[in-house]
């Protein structure tokens, strides 16, 4: 058996153990503790989330007052309907510049029969319909809004086009990172870049005052090709990142990947048991019966585990009574963590 196979086997074994453990944990959750079952998802609304939101709200209010004091909003001149259009024209707020840009990039479209193209007859063009820039620009805005509203359905259609199996069952409610779905990310980047470029295009008169060389031609080329190239770069970049995993690895790379994998998984587990929420209030240590028996600082189980110093003693002296979880203000599932560590240790993995 080669080293590769051995590594593979260890890796698979660990995977199995973790899956099994997670399954057990989920299955026995109800009887493990009714209280815990209620705390499966997220944090309690009161006081955790309310406190956090209140603090955030106060912080943002402070920011508003700070900005108001130091950057007061401008007062414009009084309106004068007889004055005609000012130059440069007054601009809308930044979030409406894209709509302004839609109106500006549009041009009059004449739809008719070009009879004057026929030689020798000397006929006049027949004009059927004139689509003015105004109408056209407004329609483009409606189209953009429609595309935004229709995103879930467009996503489904594109997904079905790329992969017929792509459907509700596989993707039901699952969030996916952009790297796993480069096409969607590229489309999103295209949309964003187009909004930005339309906004930039809409202030062309103001740009021309300071940079005369950036004229309307340059801007329209940028508006046309800029978003496309952004989307292409996003796609190529994400697709390459995605396929990097498929490259053959050297032994050293594989070893590093293996070690990193263990570290990552460990961090992920710690996150899952909410260990990272500990702010060291010490309630768990105060109530821990093992520590009571052993004396003040002899066997500080939880502290030692957090310091990654469990040499086995801390891990194996826990009697899993659950008092620590009961008093913990952060609902850290300490026993589950200890149990998992024990399971992993007995299955031969050294974590």
């Amino acid at each position: 058996m080669s080293d590769d196979d051995a590594t593979e086997m260890i890796y698979e074994h660990q995977d199995e153990q973790i899956t099994l453990d997670t399954k057990n944990k989920l299955e026995n959750r109800e009887e493990h503790s009714g209280l815990e079952a209620e705390m499966v998802k997220g944090e309690p609304l009161y006081p955790h989330e309310l406190t956090r939101d209140a603090v955030l709200a106060l912080y943002i209010m402070a920011l508003f007052f700070y900005l108001s004091a130091f950057v007061p909003p401008p007062l414009h001149k009084a309106a004068d309907p007889t004055a005609g259009t000012a130059f440069p024209p007054p601009l809308p707020d930044w979030y409406l510049l894209w709509a302004f840009g839609c109106l500006k990039v549009a041009w009059d479209i004449k739809i008719g029969i070009p009879l004057s193209m026929i030689p020798f007859l000397g006929l006049e063009d027949v004009e059927l319909f004139l689509m003015t820039a105004k109408v056209w620009g407004t329609l483009v805005q409606g189209l953009i809004v429609g595309l935004v509203v229709g995103v879930p359905f467009i996503d489904k259609a594109i997904g079905a086009l790329i992969d017929p199996k792509y459907g509700d069952v596989v993707n039901r409610g699952h969030e996916r990172r952009p790297i796993e779905d480069p096409v969607r990310a590229a489309i999103g980047v295209y949309g964003l870049a187009l909004m930005v470029m339309l906004s930039v295009f809409s202030i062309n008169a103001n740009i021309a005052i300071y940079y005369p060389q950036i004229n309307t031609d340059v801007l329209s080329q940028l508006t046309l090709w800029g978003p496309l190239s952004c989307a292409l770069i996003t796609y190529v970049f994400l697709d390459r990142r995605r396929s990097e995993g498929a490259k053959p690895l050297t032994d050293e790379e594989r070893f590093n990947l293996y070690v990193d994998g263990i570290k990552d998984r460990r961090m992920q587990r710690i996150y899952e048991f909410k260990l990272n929420r500990c702010y060291q209030c010490g309630l768990c240590d105060d109530i821990c019966p093992v520590r009571d028996m052993e004396g003040e600082h002899e066997l500080n189980i939880i502290y030692n585990s957090f310091q990654n110093e469990h040499d086995g003693v801390a891990m194996w002296s826990c009697i899993t009574c659950g008092m620590c979880t009961a008093v913990c203000p952060q609902n850290i599932e300490y026993i589950d963590y200890v149990l998992e560590q024990r399971a992993l240790a007995t299955s031969g993995a050294s974590l």
Binding site: E38, M39, K41, G42, E43, P44, L45, I60, L63, F64, F65, L67, S68, A69, V71, P72, P73, L75, H76, K77, A78, A79, D80, P81, T85, A86, P90, L91, P92, D93, W94, Y95, L96, L103, K134, V135, G137, T138, Q141, V145, V148, V149, V151, P152, D155, K156, D168, N171, R172, G173, H174, E175, R176, R177, P178, D181, R184, A185, G188, L192
Partner: protein, 143 residues
């Protein structure tokens, strides 16, 4: 407008919070798009969210039109032109939103009514549904 005691601070906070509101709605929407959080069964919430984006933008529009200064007047002219340019429905929409096909005193009244009554009502109802759906569908579950 500049003479009321502490009026300047109320105006400035109103101004800045409006900008932050629109920015946060945009950022929220971007995040939802890029993590694919609009997929089944959350399409309805995405559509509600897009409508809320429109409501927010319209809030901003009526808000900076209301001072009826140079900028507000220009914005009003553009909005009116856009409304009237819509085929068939145009004049009716101009009548409803701007109070006529010309910019008059009626326009300000309409904008005020939209800004302080219609949009807050629609916005609040939609936000309640938006949040309730998050709760009911169980993406995030407060206790």
């Amino acid at each position: 407008m500049t003479k009321v005691t502490f009026g300047y601070i109320i105006r400035a906070v109103h101004h800045w919070s409006a900008h932050f509101m629109v920015a946060s709605v945009f950022l929220h929407m971007m995040r939802v798009y890029f993590v694919g959080a609009y997929r089944n069964p959350r399409e309805v919430n995405w559509i509600l969210g897009s409508i809320l984006l429109m409501v927010t933008i319209f809030f901003g529009y009526t808000g900076y039109l209301l001072p009826w200064d140079e900028l507000g007047f220009a914005a009003g002219s553009i909005g009116l032109e856009m409304a009237t340019s819509i085929p068939a429905m145009g004049p009716l929409m101009a009548q409803i939103v701007f109070g006529g096909t010309q910019l008059t005193g009626d326009t300000i009244t309409r904008m005020y009514w939209l800004h302080i009554f219609v949009l807050p009502l629609v916005g609040t109802i939609l936000i309640i549904i938006h949040m309730a759906l998050v709760w009911i569908q169980g993406e995030a579950e407060p206790h």
